[in-house]
Amino acid sequence: MRRGTIRLLAAAAVIAAALALAPTGAGAAAPGKAMIRIAHFSPDAAYVDVYVVSLNRNQLFPNVFYKNVSAYWQVNAGPFSYEVRAAGASPSSKPAIRLTGRLQAGHAYTVAAVGPKTNLRAVLLSDDMEATEAGRARVRFIDAAVDLPKVDVAVDGRVLSPKLSFAAPSTYRALPVGKLRVEARRSGGGGVLLRDNLRVRAGTVSSAVLLGGGGQPREVFAFSDATGVRRMPAGGIKTGAGGAARAEGIRPDLLLLAAGLLALGWLVTASRHAVSPARLPAARAHRR
């Protein structure tokens, strides 16, 4: 590679670093990292071994059971795979289910196994961390009950998520907080097939999974995706009186950006000189 090209790349890297330092709104995951957790909702698959392969980790979680939901952990964003085998099965055996996907940096995901053991399926859910309205909660519904037809999910008597299909999550919906009455009704005006209570707090984002069949009772199984404050304060926070303020008021990130741009300008000029055809013979002559 020509030296000029290398310099240009170096300068680009400096600028990229400066830009990367500009504040972003993300506070949940580190740059280049995604958050992932696994869940097991197959009622009759007994114990399973779950294999998760991401860019930086190969992980095996043995003996995962019905209604296990892990905590989130961080992995490098990018391609990943998820495989489920019967507990104790050889790692080289054909997995019962395999899912591959791509994890985006700064996002959180749940990978779940659903369905009866004879027809296991994997779902990759993108989990939401958006703020709730003040004093309210956000909930999504997922039908993982193996013995339900298409259902309408009603909360406190009002249909919120109509025509919910198996393993297809609803969007997150804003809900009042407290104890809510959840019903799954046969879609298109049928009777109530499942009735349960759901308790949600202000500022929380959660998933409510309809479960049942395969010898297990029908229920709403809820777990938390994320929690924020109930009511966000407005505006900046006044934590300084200026007694130790530096004389000049330059934002360090802007200063860094300026330095990076200067470096780019300087290096571009330098590299132009380095590859200037007119100068090349002279440089060679000098070297000899």
Binding site: L21, P23, T24, G25, A28, A30, P31, R37, A46, Y47, D49, Y51, N56, L60, F61, P62, A71, Y72, Q74, G88, A89, P91, M129, T132, D196, R199, S206, A208, P217, E219, V220, F221, F223, S224, D225, A226, T227, G228, V229, R230, R231, G235, G236, I237, T239, G240, A241, G243, A244, A245, R246, G249, P252, D253, L255, A259, A263, A270, H286, R287
Partner: protein, 239 residues
């Protein structure tokens, strides 16, 4: 031309050093594992005792005994990641200590001010916990604010900007439980456009945000133009 090259290299080195110093000194952003090679485990809370809960049945008893785990080459074998266990019921915090920057302070309680903003500590030598928000150790963002300076000199969070990823922050609760947090990184935001969601918005783990002022001081308004936010998450708890 060739004569100039060493000069350029010296300049380049100097520039790199200057940039390095700036990078180290100024507010980056949640830069946690950006440069780290290893995995950054984030203990998360999904089993928040105060969180949403179905009214349905309890846990199912496994019908078969667990099988011995296979041992595939190159795989870490572990039980499912679980939340950091915090003993006792959620309890308000009393004290904050950050050994890396010599902070040891009692915590006042801060609420919402009349203008809808967050209250700040009345004492420049003490930090305060936003009690209208999350309790430290619970899933969500617990927010602690402190002044960077008083009218006469440095205040409790003057050195907050020196915190680096991995630095420890300890919060002691009223019941004696100590919560240990690890710094992920920091960010500086213009106050006029403070992304409140980045500080107070939903997060999947028990998190901590330390907030103070930063940037330049606006003498006409008597306030700093920016807020500096240090992001941390829970890594341990005990008595």
């Amino acid at each position: 031309m060739r004569r100039h090259r060493p000069v350029r290299q010296v300049l380049a080195a100097a520039l790199a050093l200057a940039l390095g110093a700036l990078l180290g000194g100024c507010g980056g952003h949640p830069a946690a594992g950006a440069g780290a090679t290893g995995p950054v485990p984030v203990p998360a809370a999904t089993a928040d005792p105060a969180g949403p809960r179905s009214g349905g049945s309890g846990m199912v008893t496994p019908s078969a005994r667990p099988a011995p785990a296979p041992k595939p080459d190159g795989f870490e074998v572990a039980s499912l990641p679980s939340a950091v266990r915090v003993p006792g019921p959620p309890t308000p915090p009393l004290r904050l200590s950050i050994p890396a920057i010599g902070v040891a302070t009692p915590l006042d309680r801060l609420g919402l001010a009349a203008d809808g903003g967050m209250e700040v500590p009345g004492d420049f030598a003490r930090a305060g916990w936003f009690s209208a928000g999350t309790m430290p150790g619970q899933q969500g963002p617990a927010v602690i604010a402190g002044h960077v300076d008083s009218k006469t000199g440095p205040a409790v969070f003057y050195r907050l900007r020196e915190l680096k990823p991995g630095d420890r922050v300890e919060v002691e609760r009223a019941d004696g439980v100590r919560l240990r947090f690890a710094v992920e990184g920091q960010a500086q935001y213009h106050k006029a456009s403070l992304p409140t969601e980045a500080v107070f918005g939903p997060v999947p783990v028990p998190a901590l945000r330390l907030v103070t002022c930063g940037g330049s001081f606006d003498h006409s308004r008597g306030s700093y133009r920016d807020n500096l936010v240090v992001f941390a998450h829970l890594v341990g708890a005990g008595r």
